[in-house]
Symmetry: C2
Subunit: 413 residues, 2 copies
């Protein structure tokens, strides 16, 4: 089997990077290719031209997702689906999404050039607007393909456009959005190559990650109520300091997460103090607690641990602490057979691999509701993403493209 | 010696309370009598009429402070000065300042009615704008009388007025502000009656507080720098979470303050997180640390303890923590001879008394730079102040007025 080399991937990534590049910048200055924007439309056009020059049949669905299909030798078998997205966050990098999308297209090109015919058909996909840069909602295109629209989202206005207008701009058909739903059994499996966005692979010098799944997320809002009072005249033992109680709760989150083995994480990312004045004892603190792990049962258990600790802290600090579930996202587990194909590909390529969960969300989590799903990760230097500093070496990019190629070829047999 | 009864004080406080009362409210709804406002001007007029009807000579100094003088039998001796303020914070209560001011005027009235002549002259004073409700600066009138203007304050605009315009509105003469300075030896001593604004007296059922002094304040700003990162993809052990470090520092402040006996207090009142998003590990936290005690040496020691702990926390959490002094206020100690006079007054009135520091600032702290100073505290129910809920019983108000009377009579001998 031939290989995809680093300079080919580099060329494609650099060519795509000009769409949404900051004025006067270079590749190193990152990209702002917000979903549905002019830069996104220009980037999509570039990618569609690449697809056509690869001999593929290009189709845009009602949600604006782009599909490039190449028939297999047995038309009765469902084809293999693989790809990613090309939109970015504002001030994002040139690897998140782009690497998986352009590698998918390059696979079609290479097979076309070499006239290699697979048993199953191959379909490369570029999902519309994966990032939460439009109306704050992630996975806009793949969510529509999974038949999971959100109530009222089509009339929500973001960056001056309704979702209806936005989808129409990129060639979708918002009135027929339900036709974007991918029927069961239509595809054999879905594979996505992506940069890790965390530092696990880079730190350990492992070139390939086999994703176990995309984590479950439990979001809580905690409200700590104490009593705002004069910071000079209220003795320490008479205080009901909401911020002292919140500080104990922040450390309780850290300690609960550390109390079990595993890759779970817990974060207090938002915290607002009231009245937030130098000389007033804080009367109320509102904070978010976000827990992530592949296992919803573990998240449930950690949530209960934190709640129990919150009750004890409230008693100790003479405050009231409420902790309510603000959101829950189910995990999306990778299919064992796709994981096996990815492991086998790493073996054939002689690349060390390691299993890990994805702490970030991906289009793959929507596909997991429809078909067997798998993801391949390659290292992100220092774990940085959603930043112009996002970086994956050309060698790691090429490794990823070849891993995707081997995995897809294996699944298409 | 005759006594002032509760109903007299109640009558005066209720009469004054209408100036700045919220529309449709009652005495219980508190007051907004911001310094230099129309309500303040109306309240000052009411008080000046009371002073004149007490037979006193009324004078407004260049800073807008009101002095009501009653001669003594020996004009060669410096008179005794006593009083407080009548301005309030927005949505304040009807006791803070008002009780001390109206009790001072009532003393002049009673002595006038009874034709009692003291050896030293007596001067009741109502200081202009004590609260930090105008341009954020406290003690505007008494600070001018102590010769401590702040650079540039006369042209600073607050509530649509410069300080120059504001002082002119209440009958002051901003061009001759330096004439408001009270010369050394002009008065024998200064005494101020005030509600405690804390809960120590009320909680312990003690009717009279003998103030040891007004506390010293050290203000610090702490900046915790970590690394903002993806809350899903960054493992716990790789984090540099600025909010976790800040939580440790909040508890370190509490623990340092508790590590020594005494009435010292420490407060983290303001805390701001950046970027403050649910799914991003906090990259930076800015917080204030305020320490108060009568002893500047103790504050220094506690500050050093917290700094040492901050350095250890930074190491443990892989963050950087800077902690810089943002302000320092010297303590204002009450004069021992005035404290003795207050204790003797409590003895004569058969009232239990207790020594305590004032954690809040008062006009008395400015007078302490010019002459022997003393303060009498009466209980605040639940320690509440700067709120419509501020409450002192009429009996406690009368006790305070009689304590002031006895103390002043003793000092005027």
């Amino acid at each position: 089997m031939p290989r995809i080399d680093g300079s080919t991937i580099q060329g494609h990534l650099e060519s795509l990077s000009v769409f949404g590049r900051p004025d006067g910048g270079t590749f190193q200055h990152g990209v702002s290719r917000i979903g549905y924007s002019d830069a996104d439309i220009a980037g999509r056009k570039f990618v569609m031209n690449l697809m056509r020059s690869a001999g593929a049949a290009v189709r845009i669905d009602a949600a604006g997702n782009i599909f490039a299909s190449r028939p297999g030798s047995d038309p009765s078998l469902p084809p293999v689906l693989f790809g990613s997205h090309i939109d970015s966050v504002p001030n994002g990098g040139n690897f998140d999404g782009d690497l998986g999308s352009l590698s998918a297209v390059q696979i079609l090109r290479m097979l076309n050039d070499l006239r290699i015919v697979t048993r199953r058909g191959l379909t490369a996909v570029v999902w519309a607007c994966e990032e939460a840069s439009f109306a704050g909602a992630m996975l806009n295109g793949s969510r529509a393909a999974a038949g999971k629209p959100r109530p009222g989202e089509m009339t929500q206005i973001s960056r001056g456009l309704t979702k209806t207008e936005a989808i129409r701009r990129i060639g979708g058909d918002p009135e027929k959005l339900e036709t974007a739903l991918i029927p069961a059994e239509k595809y054999h499996a879905y594979v996505e190559l992506h940069i890790e966005q965390g530092g696990t692979l880079a730190r350990n010098g492992v070139p390939v990650g086999v994703v176990d799944g995309i984590v479950s997320i439990d979001d809580y809002e905690a409200i700590v109520k104490g009593a705002a009072n004069h910071a000079g005249t209220t003795p320490m033992q008479g205080r009901q300091d909401a911020l002292v109680a919140a500080a104990e709760l922040i450390l309780a989150v850290r300690d609960a997460v550390a109390s079990e083995a595993g890759a779970q994480v817990g974060t207090v990312g938002r915290l607002d103090v009231s009245p937030n004045a130098t000389n007033v004892i804080p009367g109320e603190v509102r904070m978010t607690i976000e827990l992530r792990d592949l296992s919803p049962a573990k998240l449930e258990r950690l949530g209960e641990k934190i709640k129990a600790r919150a009750a004890a802290i409230a008693l100790e600090t003479r405050t009231e602490i409420s902790m309510t579930r603000a959101g829950h996202m189910e995990p999306a587990l990778a299919a064992v057979e796709v994981q096996r194909s990815i492991e086998a590909a790493a073996g054939r390529l002689g690349l060390e691999s390691r299993h890990l969960p994805s702490g970030a969300g991906h289009d793959a989590q929507m596909m997991a509701t429809l078909m067997p799903m798998g993801m391949i990760f390659v290292p992100s230097v220092d774990g940085i993403s959603h930043s112009p500093k996002e970086l994956t070496s050309w060698q790691d990019c090429a490794n990823g493209a070849n891993m995707l190629l081997e995995t897809v070829m294996n699944l298409a047999r």
